[in-house]
Every structure is written in structure tokens, then in C-alpha cells.
Amino acid sequence: MSAVDLTQFHKTFFEESREGLDAMEAALLALDSGSTDHELVHTIFRAAHSIKGGAATFGFADVAAFTHVAESLLEEVRSERRAVDSGLIEVLLRSVDCMRAMLERSSQGRPVADAESEALRVELVQLVSGEIAAPAVAAASLVAPVSGWNIAFTALPHLLQTGNDPLRLFRELQQLGRLEVVRAFITDSAPAQLAELDPSQCHLGWELRLHGAVARGAVDAVFDWLDGDCELTVAPLPDAAAVPSVPGVPAPEVAPPAAVAPRTARGTPAASGEGSSIRVGIDKVDALINMMGELVITQSMLSDIGEHFHLSQLERLREGLLQLERNTRELQESVMRIRMLPIGSVFNRFPRLVRDLERKLGKQVKLELHGEHTELDKTVLEKIGDPLVHLVRNAIDHGLESPEQRRAAGKNETGTLRLDAYHEGGNIVVQISDDGAGLNRAAIVAKAEQRGLIRPGQEVDDAEVAELIFQPGFSTAAQATDLSGRGVGMDVVRRNVRDLGGSVGVRSQSGKGSVFTIALPLTLAIIDGLVTAVGEERYIVPLISIVESLRLRPEMVRKIAGGGEVFHFRNEYLPIMRLHRAFGCNAAITEIERGIVVVVEEEGRRVGLLVDDLLGQQQAVVKSLEAHYQRVQGISGATILSDGSVALIVDVCGVVRLGQRGKAAA
């Protein structure tokens, strides 16, 4: 085994291979949609080529063998011996999937090749018209029964310019056996005048004799790089037949560089698949170091003040603390940015998905991606994929109509599906819009009645209809297709998004289409919050959910049947949610006009939260309640305030829902 531990490069190899496969897939899809850019073919080829090289180098023989065949096929495309057609793209896309799965299994240390990959490999082999060059196998070093070789070696003038040096060749030959220089001569190409001699040109030739039982292959290996740079004849020494080879003295073996026995993946530990890593742009690291430097300066300034403190320096101290605060915040932002990755890596799966769905459902879809560079926290990014896939599937399956229906409705036969990602306030917003039929109000209401989600004949406004599709167990597809009829509904999408601290809602217009909007926090770890007092307790309301805070006059509040309270706020009546009642706090203010109402909004729903007082804004490092205690309705986590006490963070979604329930009951 080699002294260098190659397993340390496995993780990098898997990561770059995954990226390579993504690039391959994207390029294949671009070719499929009619692009004739030759660079796409190069990209695809290069990715396969790199994966093959890496897999072979790092000992993933099965992956290398499979990729080798795929690469051979791609080579035919690259050299324009094979035309690109949809059949070829189909098989190559399947190959991408297969390689992805094989790499995944490799990284987990599981057996790599399976019946499926083997079948596909055979399919590829049959497609490749030319003969597939077999992977290199260790060349048997045949020891010729010779006593040595006569070597006539004449350099061509340009030999030195290829970086080759005759001296090196002689050194190597010497390692094989005893080397005798019979004659060295100047070739005819040499200039007649010494002054005309160009030192970069070589005009020399040699007659050499190599003594020893040396294999012909070993001699050839010495000169293997000089094909076209010299004239070379190698012949056995004339007395070869007369002299028997000496038994017991094996010729030194020089393995040709190609001689690498394929290694099996079995012996490699699976540890490389453990733990995920992140690739960080150097600019982010530089920013971090820069910030760190400023922090150090501030710290030294403060400790300087502290050492010889005098009241007259109070102003400087205050300045220093302000600077410290600024540094800390900037440092924090820089650290956060390290975890941020562009959403493009998630968006990139959709061209393929959309293409497959188009075929399956007989629809025509134009996919538009916008804002791929918008960055998201790595954890959020990893978990947002599935909900997005579900929404995209839904949009194509239920939202977009068939070409016939679209034509009948006077629309373009090709539907448009648009994915957008952008920053809005402290949030990242991801939108999935389609220009399909929009939500089917009648079907939704009928289904909701059947499911008992609403009373028969109950009045529901558009927002409520939209809200119904997120209810557990709700599915309106007349026939359950294999895409969306698998029991995973919009409620799961919403739960997944909520688990990420985000929200999802939908706006729809009949005949015009639907827009699903997902709002996600920039990071899961820290929120900007408003600290409120309720009795003895402190609650933090996430700043992004707050619309406004106000003190109500008694006449603004109406009591409604069932004990609920509402107040008039900008042309609508909002339910009042008494936090002290919801969370069971003692000694809180109970008269609405003495407290403060914080209007919060989530998914277009507004509720007024009654608290005693507002204590100020603070960044809260979110600690999970579930991890330390249990899930609590209306609470998303806890944090530690600057005085060391614990405050709970209000889950606005949950609270709004509580408020809605109160309203519905009213």
C-alpha cells in the first residue's frame, strides 16, 4: 500500500463528482432543449472524464468501470462520430442517475454495482460503436532471454525543447543494466559553423550497448515519451542466442506508468461519507479575517481605557462599546455568510424534474429560473429541496392544464412555471408561479365539506379556500396520479417549511394561475426580535412578523359572541390574542387599554397580541425547546436575555392559528 493516505481526498472527490454530475445533467438538458453549443458537449465529457479519473485513482473501481463506458460514448459525440438525439440524451441522463447512485453507495461504503447499473453499463457498451479501450492492466514484464541490447539513438533537433534530456535516458538505462557507449556522433543536421549552433537544438546521436537480461519492454519504456523526437532502433545483442540467460538473476522490473492494477472499493473505509463539509469562497474567509482584525483593535482600545480609567474617558468608553457592538454584529454576519450557499444548487434539479413530468403527463412546460444566486443557510437549503419538489410537481400536475385545455382557453399551449428567489427584509422568499388554471375553488370547497373541514354551505373567502389545501389529509386530484397521490399533501409541505422557521402561502386567480410563496429565515440560529413583557415573563416576538404596535382606546375594541375580542385596524377587524391568557401568565395587565397590542402577520393573516409592555429590540440566539424540554404550542424556542434570564420566542404562525381558531369559534 502507498504511504500516502488517499482516503483524505475521498470527501472532496465525492463532492466534486456530485457537482460534475449536476453540470452534466444541466448540459444534457440544455442539449435536449435544442441547444447546439458545442461547449455543452465538452462540459459533459469533461465531467465524466474527471469522475472516471478520480474514481480510478481513489480506488472506486466499479464507478470507474461504469464511467469509462459512458465516457467512451461521450468521446464519440465529442469527436462528432455520433449525433446527439433524444435517445442518446435519455440514456445519458439515466447514466447520470446511475453514477450518482453509485457514488452515493461508494461514499457510504456499500457495494457499488448492482443489477441496474450493470444492465445500464451493458446497454452503454452496446451503444459504443468503436471498440472500448480496456482499462490498463499490469503489463506482464516478459523477461527476454537475451544478454542485452544494441540501441541506436539519434536525437531529432527539437528533442531538448520537449523538456527531455538524453542524460536522463542514459541514467534510466543504467538502472536496467550495464550501459556501454559505443559511439557518440554529431548528426548531419548540425550547422557547419560553430557560431551558428543553437543551444536549444540537439544534433547528437549515440550507439549504445546495454548488457544484462533486460526485457525489451523495459527498454521501450525508457524511450516511451520520445516517440517522434528521435530515431531509435533496438536490437538484441548479436550473441544473444549463444548466451543463455542467467537463472536466478531476474531483470530489474520497470513497471510502465500504465501498469496499475484496478483496486477494489471494498477495502476503503466508509468514514469519508461521514460529516458534511462546506466549500467557502475565499472572499468570505477574507471578510471574516478582516472583521476579526477590527475586533482585536477595538478590544485593545477598550482594555487600554480600562487600565487607566478616568470618568473623563466615559465618552471614549461609550464609543468603544458602540464599536464593539458594530464589530460583533459584522463578525456575526460574516460567520453566518459562511453557511450561506446559493439556492441555484436546489433550482438546478428542476429542469430535469420538469422534463420528466412533461413526458409523463403529456404537458408542455417552460421553466424559468430567477435569482439562483440568492444565498440560503446550508441547513435550510438542504431541507427546502423536498417541499419545493412537491410544489413544482403539484404545479405541473394540478396547476398547468394540458395543451388542449390551454388552447381551448385561448392560452399558449406551453405553460410557464417560474421559480424565483429573492431577499425581502430579513427573509428569503422563494416563489413558485404557474400560469395554469388556478385553484379549483368548487372542488376544494366540496372536498373540504366532505372531509368535515368546513360546515356544508359555510361561507369561505378566497384566502380561506387557499388555506384549506394546507389542511392535513387534503387532496383534490380527481384521480390520484403516481405523482401527487401518495399521501404526501400540502400539509407536509407546510410542516417542513415551518420546521425551518418559514411560512408558505398561496395566491391564486382562476384561469390565470397560482403563486406559492415560501418565506424562509436567513438563518435558523439567530432572529431579530422584540422583547415584550407579559406579567413576570418575557416573550420575544420575531421582528419580521410584526406589522405595528399600538395602544388601543376602549372604544376600538368590540366583544363578539363567544367571548372573543376584535379591534378595528385599517379597515378590518383583527382578533385580539391575550398572551397572558394563552400562556397562563400571572400578574399581567388585563385591561386592553393599559397594555400594548402588537399586530403580527403570518401568511396574510393578522392578529393583535396583547402584551404589558415593549422592552426593546434584541437579537436572540434561538435555543430549541424541543431539544431540552418538549414542543410547546405557540412557542418556537427560547433564548437567553442580556441579564441572563430566559425568554420564550413566540411562534407567530402557531399563535395566529390559535387566534383564528378563536375567531372561527366566535
Partner: protein, 120 residues
């Protein structure tokens, strides 16, 4: 110990090459494609260049051609890291001025043996 420039777009391959060579005491500079390699080569001098063939932006063959056009790199050994399935690439590399090649896949020992072969 020699100064070596390792050029490969694959981070894992380049990492393996650089790590191996550094372990043997060589000073290694890295570049992820031919264009960047030329920039690095211009700003410094190297005893040996190891370059992958297939790279984006500028491939290994074009890089060799450009390097050979530079006075400082006329006689510097340049090895192509290539795969056995591309015999024609070896010759193309040679035609562009490469010294020789190292066939992928190779292990660290083969790499060191080949480097030793060139550097003596």
C-alpha cells in the same frame, strides 16, 4: 527539492498530487486550469509542470503550447496527466511540446517515481 506546478481542475486529483509531492519535500504551486497556470508560471519559475489534459477555460494541450512559447519554459519538463483511453491525446500533447505523460489512474508512488525520472 524541486518547484513543481500542478494543474488540474479536479480538486481531489490536484490535492492528491500536491499532497504527495509536498510529502516528498517538493514545493508545489497549484492551478485549476491552463489559463491560471500560465499566470502562475509567468510570475514564478518551476522545475516541472504536471498538467491534466481536460480542463475548462484552457485545456492542458493549449497550455503546453503557450508555455513552450515562453522563453523561461522552453526546456522545462512538462508532464501530461492523461488517461489510457486517449492515446491520441498523448501524441497531441507531445506535438504541443509536452515532455511525457503519466497515465491515470496513478498512485502516489507512481507519481513520485515519474517525477524522479524527470528530475533525476
Amino acid at each position: 527539492m524541486a518547484k513543481i506546478l500542478a494543474v488540474d481542475d479536479s480538486v481531489s486529483m490536484r490535492g492528491m498530487v500536491a499532497f504527495t509531492l509536498r510529502g516528498a519535500g517538493h514545493e508545489v504551486a497549484e492551478a485549476e486550469n491552463g489559463q491560471l497556470a500560465l499566470d502562475v508560471a509567468r510570475g514564478s519559475s518551476f522545475d516541472l509542470v504536471l498538467a491534466d489534459v481536460n480542463m475548462p477555460v484552457m485545456d492542458g494541450i493549449a497550455m503546453v503550447r503557450e508555455l513552450r512559447a515562453m522563453d523561461a519554459y522552453k526546456g522545462v519538463p512538462i508532464l501530461m496527466l492523461t488517461t489510457e483511453s486517449h492515446t491520441e491525446k498523448k501524441m497531441e500533447g507531445k506535438a504541443a511540446g509536452a515532455t511525457g505523460w503519466l497515465v491515470k489512474p496513478f498512485d502516489p508512488e507512481q507519481l513520485l517515481a515519474t517525477v524522479k525520472r524527470v528530475l533525476g
